[in-house]
């Protein structure tokens, strides 16, 4: 229940700060998406990948330089 309440708070605060309106069905969809993605997003943010930084001059058609 606490997680659900936090999700509702996150979504409500995010929408309000951006000036986006949502009806009940849309809010339910957003809550479902949040339940699906948020744990993985937290895992991603916590992922330790050392000093890897985004590639400069990224060219996805080729192998990374260097």
């Amino acid at each position: 229940m606490a997680a659900l309440a936090r999700a509702e708070d996150f979504i409500a605060a995010g929408l309000a700060s951006l000036g986006i309106e949502a009806d009940e069905i849309e809010l339910a969809v957003m809550a479902a998406a949040h339940a699906l993605f948020w744990p993985e997003i937290l895992d991603l943010l916590a992922l330790e990948i050392g000093e890897v930084s985004p590639e400069r001059g990224l060219d996805l058609s080729k192998a990374p330089a260097g």
Partner: protein, 456 residues
């Protein structure tokens, strides 16, 4: 047998030799749409006069007079794409997209527009402004998405080739579900201009869906604007993963794909080795994050207060949720991208291709697109993105090849991925796989592709 049932390359050869008439083949394709499409909803619009104009003006290119279907993601000079949705977040106008020009210059005839999952947002194809597309192997099952209509049209024998788009598996999923060969090219190798996200995407590519590798090579060559030369993949070094996610595959899919990998090794005189690729789940999520944040990068938040009520609630709600994705996660996703590209570059020093099931389970029901995996029940989208996102995230090419049928007669696809620019190697490997199984799976026809034969 109708000329429509010939492979794309043989249609082209027969037309060039005058063995069949160009107008005759176009009429047969239009008739077959009338005959078979009501059960499939694969083709959402035809324009016979425009098709005949293309035919009349067709140069003597490699596809002169060959009918093809194009996904509702590509604008045509007489028709804006609808992206499978009642409304697009960005304006769309009729235009000469890259795939249109490539097809026109090759002499092909666009016979219709293929259905797609609403806003390209799912691997299932079970929702669209036009209604769901159906799988010719079983109309109660998902055809795969988001290039649902192009795949269903080819699998049903309406056309021998179609052009899709792949942002996170959207060519490979329907290829696997419909028993086709589908190529996701190396990023930026295939025609992309005119796509509504061409300026911002680092994920989406155009690509061919056909019944076998040789046809995929031909249509791919047209989209690439250069011949994808056949080569020799003798001694192919095949890498397989044995991690927790890669092992979480329905038993029938796993056994079939393992048998196919063994057959490919034998056919090429190559070797199979177990390799590791850490953080694959993070790469899948990174692909999702990048695709979804890129897609919203030109949208003002308040624009989302004016969404059409005709959009599905899922599309409306998810569009708004995408605005809330944290920037830190999107930037971290770019770091994961850099990491995975470096890891893949090192891995492709050891192996020529990576092989794993395109999707971990066969096409689920349209009404309830859930799949049963050893780890439990997942939505098809949750399950499918795991193995597909890597190629889009890193830019490498990938191909799905049909390798068998499940007990309930649904196709199983094997995905092969190679280093940047080695699209030709994937086609060579796909052809080797066809030889290894006597072309059994590329010759197999969906029930709806043999029900009633339209003559040409």
């Amino acid at each position: 047998m109708s000329a429509l049932d010939l492979p794309l390359r043989k249609q082209a050869a027969a037309l060039a030799a005058g063995e069949i008439g160009v107008a005759e083949l176009l009429d047969a394709s239009l008739a077959r749409i009338e005959e078979r499409n009501p059960a499939l909803n694969a083709v959402v619009e035809t324009f016979p006069e425009r098709s005949r104009e293309m035919l009349d003006a067709a140069p003597a290119g490699p596809l002169r007079g060959v009918p093809v279907v194009v996904k509702d993601e590509w604008p045509l000079p007489w028709r804006a794409q609808r992206f499978g949705a009642a409304e697009m977040l960005t304006p769309a106008e009729p235009a000469e997209s890259g795939p249109y020009r490539a097809l026109r210059d090759a002499g092909a005839t666009i016979v219709g527009v293929g259905n797609m999952h609403e806003a390209g947002a799912s691997s299932t194809g079970n929702a669209s402004v036009y209604g769901a597309a159906h799988n010719p192997w079983n109309p109660e099952r998902c055809p795969g998405g988001s290039s649902s209509g192009p795949a269903a049209a080819v699998a049903a024998g309406i056309v021998a080739g179609a052009v899709g788009a792949d942002g996170i598996g959207s060519i490979r999923f329907p290829a696997a579900y419909c028993g086709l060969t589908g190529l996701k090219p190396t990023f930026a190798r295939s025609a992309m201009d005119g796509h509504h996200m061409a300026a911002v995407t680092s994920m989406i590519v155009s690509g061919p869906l056909c019944r076998d590798a040789a046809d995929t090579r031909l249509l791919g060559s047209v989209l690439f604007g250069t011949a994808l030369a056949a080569g020799d993949c003798a001694g192919l070094r095949i890498g397989v993963l044995r991690d927790e996610v890669s092992e979480d595959v329905a038993p029938a899919v796993r056994e079939t794909c393992e048998a196919a990998i063994a057959a490919l090794r034998e056919e090429t005189g190559g070797e199979v080795s177990e390799v590791t690729l850490d953080d694959l789940p993070a790469s899948a999520l990174s692909a999702v994050l990048i695709a979804n944040t890129e897609g919203m990068s030109g949208i003002a938040p308040r624009r989302l207060n004016r969404l059409s009520p005709e959009l599905s609630p899922i599309n409306r709600g998810f569009a708004k949720y995408r605005m809330l994705l944290p920037a830190a996660a999107a930037v971290k996703a770019e770091r994961v991208r850099a990491l995975m590209r470096r890891r893949l570059a090192a891995l492709f020093e050891q192996v020529d291709v990576l092989a794993w099931p395109t999707v971990p389970a066969v096409a689920p029901p349209l009404e309830v697109p859930l799949v049963e995996l050893p780890s439990g029940t997942l939505t098809a989208d949750q399950a499918n993105v795991r193995g597909a996102g890597l190629a889009n995230l890193t830019g490498i090419p990938a191909i799905s090849v049909p390798v068998g049928l499940s007990e309930d007669s649904m196709p199983i696809g094997l995905q092969l991925q190679a280093a940047w620019g080695r699209d030709e190697l994937l086609l060579d490997a796909a052809e080797a796989l066809e030889r290894a199984n006597g072309r059994r799976w590329v010759e197999q026809r969906a029930p709806l592709a043999v029900a009633g034969q339209t003559e040409a």
